[in-house]
């Protein structure tokens, strides 16, 4: 019973301990208690916190790069879905789809696509597979859903990370201010002694 109530108190003041490999920043209730508990002097505490901040920044850059990649991938998949939908729409009508496509930069040629039964999808790693229009639609839709889901998770990771960065920055400021305060109090105590 005692242990469960103490963990209940702990979770009220601490954030989640970590998320997908990112360590959570410990919220400091009182600077003096924190320094005594961790056994660190002010400078060691500050350099530990600064190091943590650097690590967070590194992870943030990695996540931002992944986010940019996903954000570029999603419109590409949507464009492919658009093309497949257009081909499927044209299939019933018996009319060919005439399109101008880029042969090389600045040079275009005309293509005549009649009754597209299948499309080829680029799967990456120099692999291209032929699919029926329906199968291609399903595959592209699945890829789109996966990309959007991954992006959501990534965005949540970034929010968590930024919170930890803010907590760490505030803790650094508080530890520093506490130190300044302490030093001033000691100076005032020394001058008071001298005067008395």
């Amino acid at each position: 019973m005692a242990s469960s109530s103490s963990t209940a108190v702990a979770t009220a003041t601490e954030t989640t301990t970590e998320r997908r490999g990112i360590p959570g920043a410990q919220f400091v209730e009182d600077v003096e208690t924190y320094l005594n508990q961790s056994g660190l002097d002010v400078n060691s505490a500050l350099s530990f916190l600064q190091e943590r901040l650097q690590q967070y920044k590194l992870v943030e850059m990695k996540l931002l790069a992944q986010q940019r990649d996903l954000q570029a991938k999603i419109p590409d998949i949507e464009k492919c879905l658009d093309v497949v939908a257009t081909l499927q729409a044209k299939k019933g009508t018996g009319e060919p789809l005439i399109a101008d496509f880029e042969v090389s930069e600045g040079i275009y040629s005309q293509a005549r696509i009649e009754d597209a039964e299948s499309v080829c999808l680029w799967l990456g790693a120099n692999v291209m597979l032929e699919y029926s229009c329906e199968e291609a639609n399903d595959l592209l839709q699945k890829n789109l859903d996966n990309a959007k889901a991954s992006l959501e998770v990534l965005v949540a990771d970034l929010l968590f990370l930024r919170d930890q960065v803010t907590i760490t920055q505030v803790t650094i400021a508080r530890v520093y201010n506490w130190d300044v305060h302490q030093k001033r109090r000691m100076r005032e105590a020394v001058t008071a002694e001298k005067d008395s």
Partner: protein, 126 residues
């Protein structure tokens, strides 16, 4: 007597959460401003395309689908562009609404945080 660097104000978990939320909102605000800029550009491009379409007297228009330019009859292009404009303007409305909400939330948090910490905290854009 307290000077700026030696503030005595204790930071509670609630304060920390307010600061965290302010940070999140500020980031979201910048993202929204970028998204609104892009949406506005897309809108302008669609307007220009619409206008060009009215001016042209060709029956078949080269309309970009994916990476190619498909030959599409003019009426269909008109319909497609109208649809795209609908989507973009709905999107912009949503973005503007969210931006208003975010700005209002930030103003509330500023009041609370400046109220407690005064000069010890800076919530302004650099």
């Amino acid at each position: 007597m307290q000077q700026g660097g030696g503030s005595d104000k204790e930071v509670t978990w609630e304060d920390q959460q307010n600061i965290n939320n302010f940070g999140r909102l500020n980031n979201r605000l910048h993202e929204l401003e970028d998204e609104i800029k892009i949406a506005k550009e897309t809108n302008d491009n669609l307007e220009d395309a619409s206008n060009e379409l009215i001016l042209t007297d060709e029956e078949v228009v080269r309309f970009q689908i994916g990476e190619v330019f498909a030959h599409v009859p003019r009426d269909e292009v008109e319909t497609r562009i109208e649809q795209m404009k609908e989507v973009t303007s709905k999107n912009m409305e949503k973005l503007d609404e969210e931006k208003e909400f975010v700005v209002a939330q930030m103003a509330k948090l500023k009041k609370i945080l400046y109220g407690k910490f005064g000069d010890s905290i800076n919530l302004e854009e650099n």
